[in-house]
């Protein structure tokens, strides 16, 4: 159901909610397995791989364990930590459940990540007794309909920026309402990096011109900020004033894909380029399938390689034709690789296809091309029915990519489930 508000209220009269599931992956695992409840749990890859913490439970966070930390570092801080191997399908499935709950209160629902969403309740809140009441109903329904161990922090504010900040002010099962008149006082007490969009790099750049607080940023001459940061300079100043007129973009109105990519961190540093190519082929086939599933083809192929000391190499080539066949993508990526003078080991491999065109149909008069197309379509039908890589290239039979768990998911793909 599409919803188009007829009256255009001033942006600062909006009522926006940001809902953030607390310690999401870890909490889902604790919900599924009661033996894990109340214990320091982290979700990551398999213990014998080079895993990092994808999510830490509230109990683990008390020991200073954080997302992105290596398993080694996490265990140093909390020796009795319990590691659970991540299950991305489980988290995505639960995400769909809570998104369905949120959507009953407004159709203007933006999926920000696998565990966060924005909800514009400006035009619907009166029906449910107000935004705070909606928030309380959401919390109750999460417990009743999804699981009693799951909690979320909700921020309610006149815009997305402040709603996201508000939800972060109470970490566990929080509910914070920020009115327009409260904004200056809240921002005065807020660090620059607490705002979504200001990371360590931007904070460092701001510091280099003498800005180390929200107050200083808010009062800084816009001209100087624009000179230093371009158009972002204007946005930064507005952020420091708590201003944000960006709309909540419903998931059904999201812009099309710009590119599709797959990356994989190898279990061990790899010195054999043939082994790297085996992984590259598998990743290319995955990208090819995604392109075909969404009816895209692309003509810019990007190869990404990362060394064990975290130097990232990225080079691309733009073709004169659009492709969606995994093996063609692999071949083009290999051509890029052949131009490299590579020394040392590879830690991570990635391939991306950009410069996309949707519904691109390229008729070929060549019988070989037409036959190849028919074969790809037949393979897709089999793999769609029986599971990915049911039929695959012989070269890939020995190549296995371990499951990865991360906080990012293609939003449109979440909805394909």
């Amino acid at each position: 159901m599409k919803f188009t508000p007829k009256d255009k209220r001033a942006v600062d009269e909006r009522v926006i909610m940001h809902i953030d599931m607390n310690s999401y992956f870890a909490t889902v695992e604790q919900q599924a397995n009661p033996f894990l409840r109340g214990k320091p749990v982290i979700v990551g890859g398999s213990p014998d791989s080079r895993t990092v913490v994808a999510a830490a439970s509230m109990e683990a966070k008390k020991f200073g364990v954080k997302s992105g930390m290596s398993l080694y570092e996490a265990k140093k801080r909390c020796p009795h930590l319990l590691l659970v191997e991540g299950d991305h399908e489980k988290y995505a499935g639960i995400t769909l459940k809570f998104l369905n709950i949120f959507e009953t209160y407004s159709p203007i629902l933006e999926i920000f990540s696998i565990d966060e969403a924005f909800l514009d309740v400006t035009h619907t809140q009166e029906r449910f007794g107000g935004a705070k009441e909606i928030a309380l109903k959401i919390k109750k329904r999460l417990k009743e309909e999804v699981g009693e161990w799951l909690t979320c922090s909700i921020g309610i504010a006149p815009n997305k920026l402040m709603a996201k900040l508000a939800s972060s002010l109470e970490k566990s099962d929080g509910l914070v309402v920020v009115k327009s008149e409260d904004v200056p006082l809240i921002l005065k007490k807020t660090k620059l990096t607490a705002l979504c969009g200001i990371g360590d790099k931007t904070a460092s750049s701001l510091l280099s011109i003498g800005i180390d607080s929200m107050e200083k940023l808010a009062g800084f001459p816009e001209k100087v900020l624009v000179k230093r940061f371009g158009i972002n300079g204007k946005i930064l100043k507005k952020m420091a004033l708590g201003e944000d007129d960006s709309p909540v973009v419903p998931y059904y109105e999201e812009p099309p894909y710009k590119s599709m990519a797959h990356h994989y961190t190898l279990p061990e540093d790899c010195y054999e380029m043939e082994e790297v190519k085996d992984v590259l082929l598998r990743l290319s086939e995955k990208v090819g399938r995604r392109l075909r599933t969404h009816n895209y083809r692309g003509r810019t192929i990007t190869l990404i390689l990362r060394t064990s000391d975290f130097f990232t190499f990225q080079r691309q080539d733009t073709l004169g034709r659009y492709i969606d066949d995994g093996y063609e993508i692999f071949s083009e990526a290999c051509k890029i690789m052949r131009k490299l003078t590579w020394r040392g080991s590879v830690r991570m491999v990635g391939v991306s296809v950009g410069n996309l065109a949707k519904n691109y149909s390229q008729l070929s008069l060549l019988p070989d091309e037409a036959n190849k197309r028919r074969l790809i379509e037949a393979l897709d039908r089999i793999n769609n029915k029986y599971g990915e890589f049911t039929v695959q290239r012989a070269r890939n039979l020995e190549t296995r990519l371990r499951k990865h768990t991360g906080g990012y998911v293609e939003r449109s793909e979440l909805l394909q489930m």
């Binding site: 599924a32 397995n33 033996f35 499935g93 769609n384 029986y386 489930m417």
Partner: protein
């Protein structure tokens, strides 16, 4: 501690208000009474939709998997304390 099982089981389930609630399952000739369904999520395997039920009895936790295509049940994993 968890252990992968992946064996077929027999299940008695309640279909109520659009939901499936497994009540008992039989595995290796022993009957297990499900005390609580902790979490339910679904996944896809090809064109089949699989439903995963994280459940508990008096002693342990289990993951049961229902394949909606061939209507079969499987015991996927057992979790024991310690």
């Amino acid at each position: 501690m968890n252990e992968s099982i992946n064996e077929n089981i027999d299940v008695i389930a309640l279909f109520e208000q659009g939901r499936i609630k497994p009540l008992y399952f039989k595995w290796r000739n022993r009957k297990y009474k499900i005390k609580k369904v902790n979490l339910v999520h679904s996944s896809k395997k090809g064109s089949a939709v699989l439903y995963h039920f994280s459940v508990s009895d008096e002693s342990n936790n289990y993951t049961l998997c229902f394949d909606s295509k061939d209507l079969s049940w499987e015991l996927s994993e057992i979790y024991t304390e310690g």
